[in-house]
Amino acid sequence: MRGPALSTRGLAKSFGSLVVARDIAIELPRGVRYALIGPNGAGKTTLINLMTGMLRSDAGRIFLDDEDITQLAPEQRVRRGLVRTYQINSLFPHLTALESVTLAVCERRRVAGTWWRQLAAYREEIGEAYEILSALTLGPVCHRPTRELAYGQQRLLEIALALATRPKVLLLDEPAAGVPREESKELFAAIAGLSREITVLFIEHDMDIVFRFATRVIVMVGGRVLVEGPPQEVAADPQVRAVYFGKAMGKSDGLRRESVP
């Protein structure tokens, strides 16, 4: 049997005296849908930044498919299949949706550096980009500049860009942030429909969505992993309940559901 898709050992990071990650050891088995939850400032986005190499860790190791990727640059990790999206839209405002995704496909196929052939001649690459956009319902607006797209469509384009790199492990930082509740269900339906080959870890505050779409849950508090397990167990865990109910938390952080469907 093959090992986990992504794992970390003893990952640590601090900014001066502020410890944002301490001794983080997690293992993401292949094809699992993981939710990463925790109160604001727990270090969830920091963990994604560490795993993708946007931040350098002070200590610890990161493995992708059992290969040690701790020393690799962000773009090298992406090329090996570890890909992220951003909590706040980080797109290409003046490129069209199709151009943006075609760019990502060209980078993956290592043709983004060729200048002597016209872009339009790369029919397969453009076709693949168009398919990805169509599957995420963005086909009809693919020639619109990104900045003219509706907010929800821009969130989908974030995911389309990530998919264009053919990820093995996809880290989604609050994919539905700022999207109305009804639309966020559709967005997660699209995520749930992704190939089982892809391992997904998503940060999400809405417990409804966490319980519906996650097969396992990681709870982070104060830069540490508090609990890891299936949603039911995590919801019943006394430590988790203490974190969520023991202190006054923002309403988005509250555990809204106790029973699990």
Partner: protein
């Protein structure tokens, strides 16, 4: 509009965007007008073509990849001095002189690109400015090589193609500069419509996002910076060859600032912006300096402020805006 978009394939849609527009063909035909209309101004016309080529090279890094440079004249100057020195030391053949100048500027561009690719915005402006000043002082102090303040003398060009000598009226000079501009324009046009061109626009639009889609931005920036340096070197070489002199101002700060002004006037990121900007700037300078020899920069200043205030995408951006509005109504 939505209907026609749905009917054609995305491949065809992108293909259509790279096709030659009738206004482009008209533009290039118009570059032949000076022979008929202003035969006494061909020397100025060749200066315009050279400034246009220089601005085109800046457009590739500034307009497309978002790399702001206030020291681009360094490469113009390296090209000019290289071409001048090659000729002065006995090899006056113009085309090989251009090639050698391009090589020299390209090598320096490649060497500095390793630093350039790691910075953005203000830091980049200061860095390029610093490189430019550094090189200017080097050329000044190396008087034995460059002639220092007196400029490089003793350049003599052979006949172009063994047949056309560089005449006093600038007929050969303009034809030569225009031909080189056109060839390199075709190259630049090809480049920006390629996957690499799309990559450059991605870097301009969101530098931070590029690594997250697996793009080695640094190596892409090194490539385009080297290409832009080589083209700037060719522009400088053209000036040296057509005027048969090189002075320190060919790599001074003023020339670096001037080419940014030309590109901003015309409109960056549109390929033709530098060309249009060069025409407007050079003609305006010629007229204004004729009227008021001392204060002509005053008028250039007014022109620049006016364009930035009322035409944020440059003169070309304003024209494109007008034509698209006219077409809609």
């Amino acid at each position: 509009m939505a209907l026609s978009e749905a009917e054609i394939t995305p491949q065809r849609y992108l293909q259509a965007q790279t096709r030659w527009h009738p206004s482009e063909i008209a533009f290039w035909l118009a570059t032949l007008l000076p022979y008929v209309l202003f035969p006494n101004y061909l020397a100025l016309a060749s200066q315009i073509a050279i400034a246009a080529l220089f601005a085109l090279s800046l457009d590739l890094i500034l307009g497309y990849a978002g790399i702001v440079s206030l020291g681009h004249a360094a490469f113009f100057g390296i090209g000019a001095y290289t071409a001048g020195l090659v000729s002065k030391h006995g090899w006056g053949e113009p085309l090989t002189g251009l090639a050698i100048a391009a090589l020299a500027a390209g090598i320096v561009g490649y060497a500095t690109s390793f630093v350039i690719c790691r910075f953005r915005h203000l830091a980049l402006i200061m860095l390029t400015l610093g490189f430019g000043l550094l090189l200017g002082e080097l050329a000044n102090s190396a008087g034995w090589l460059t002639g220092g303040m007196d400029g490089l003398q003793g350049i003599h060009m052979w006949k172009l193609g063994g047949y056309f000598h560089f005449d006093l009226f600038g007929k050969t000079a303009y034809s030569y500069a225009l031909a080189i501009l056109f060839v390199l324009f075709l190259f630049a046009r090809r480049l920006i419509h390629s996957p690499f061109g799309l990559t450059l626009r991605g870097i301009r639009e969101n530098f931070v996002r590029m690594p997250a889609i697996g793009a080695p931005s640094h190596s892409h920036i090194r490539t385009i910076y080297t290409i832009a340096a080589a083209i700037a070197g060719i522009a400088g070489a053209l000036l040296a060859q057509t005027t048969e002199t090189v002075s320190l101002d060919s790599l001074g700060f003023e020339r670096s600032a001037e080419v940014v002004v030309i590109l901003v006037l015309g409109g960056p990121g549109k390929l033709y912006g530098g060309l249009v900007g060069a025409m407007v700037f050079m003609v305006a300078r010629d007229r204004f300096s004729g009227i008021e020899p001392q204060y002509w920069y005053f008028w250039i200043g007014i022109l620049l402020v006016g364009v930035v205030l009322f035409l944020p995408n440059g003169i070309l951006g304003g024209i494109m805006h007008l034509t698209s509005r006219w077409r809609r109504s």
